[in-house]
Symmetry: C2
Subunit: 219 residues, 2 copies
């Protein structure tokens, strides 16, 4: 397996965007793309794009651009999407249901193997062909199913106790939609937070800023 080391976090965070965009080009039957074309569509400078892709050894050929298919495959490989990490979802409310039904886990390196809730009305129902299991049976489930990651779609107050149980079970990779900061309690975990409130506040800032400075060009 290729290993790319010492890649900065900002570069890593841009990779999904390249991947997404290249996937769209593939769908349209585009076979080659220049850094300038990527730049026009993605809003990064062409030199930024060349620099980013050079972190991984560079896939382009001067004057010929990049092969869309190779670049797409390679970035997917760097992201580790050819894995099939087993994930369990905690919380089968609206958010949990939306995440379970909305996401293409298989295309993003994961496989959803279990859904848990403590609400009797939800236990036993099915979401995406997975039966919602009683949260009390988490340990029993994990005896026979090794989960690699857990998805938190529970309220903030419920998160620390569930994290403690997962951590004891050796499940230390979290996709966290709750507003609880898990990294405060553990230093041996991997956690990717989805902060919807932060995103909404950024929108608020940008609307306010544009209204207060109407003459400035929008970005």
């Amino acid at each position: 397996m290729h290993k790319y080391k010492n890649i900065s976090d900002p570069v890593i965070r841009r990779l999904p965007r390249y991947y997404r965009f290249l996937g769209e080009l593939l769908d349209k039957g585009v076979t080659r793309v220049s850094s300038r074309q990527l730049s026009d569509k993605m809003g990064f400078t062409a030199s930024q794009i060349r620099q980013d892709l050079n972190c991984f050894g560079g896939f382009g050929q001067q004057g010929y651009g990049y092969s869309v298919e190779s670049l797409y495959q390679e970035i997917g490989h760097i992201l580790g999407l050819d894995h099939s990490y087993k994930a369990i979802l905690i919380g089968a409310g609206n958010l949990g249901k939306a995440v379970a039904t909305h996401m293409s886990f298989e295309k993003r390196g994961f496989r959803l193997i279990g859904i848990f809730d403590n609400d009797p009305a939800k236990i036993g129902t099915s979401i995406r062909d997975i039966t919602v299991t009683d949260l009390d049976d988490l340990e029993k489930f994990c005896e026979s199913n090794t989960a690699d990651a857990a998805i938190f779609c529970v309220p903030k107050t419920a998160t620390p106790r569930i994290a403690e149980r997962l951590h004891k079970l050796g499940i230390k990779n979290y996709w966290n939609f709750s507003h609880y900061d898990l990294s405060i309690d553990y230093d041996d975990i991997i956690v990717e937070n989805v902060h919807l409130n932060d995103s909404l506040m950024i929108l608020c800032y940008r609307i306010s800023d544009a209204n207060d400075n109407p003459d400035e060009e929008l970005q």
Copy 2:
């Protein structure tokens, strides 16, 4: 109103995190905080924090730290959270329902005034005391209700046509959960995207990276 100009995007993107963290301190009754304490909890360096807060004129006093309450209020003000922008939600599926019920719009500068869907099974039902309206009646609704922003919780394929209608109605601020890139079609809009797939891919990368380099310390 204070105006802060030429603030870089990375600083802006950190503000919700400060705001969130200061809110937690307030809830705990903490009145003063030093940049070092903020640094320990937030994972930025103390000098980074001082630099960020200096962008807004600096609220701290050497040796005394920051007043949690003032800093919280001021950052909220900078973010524009004292506004009450009227938002409509397009799409009342699981994701739309989760967004409508899960978010504290009022605390983030918004007020949800309408929810739309084209599914007869959803039209007429209520979410958070708001009746789901037929998407066909969007224009009629907007005649008597001026919306400032729209939230897209619809599939990618449905997004461009709905965006066209909203844009014609003068609604040009979008919180976009769909995977369609709205900025390609319009250059006079404000759009804040929520890319859940990107976040899941970043998690995949970080798990793969840790598994391939097990000896390295986790971040």
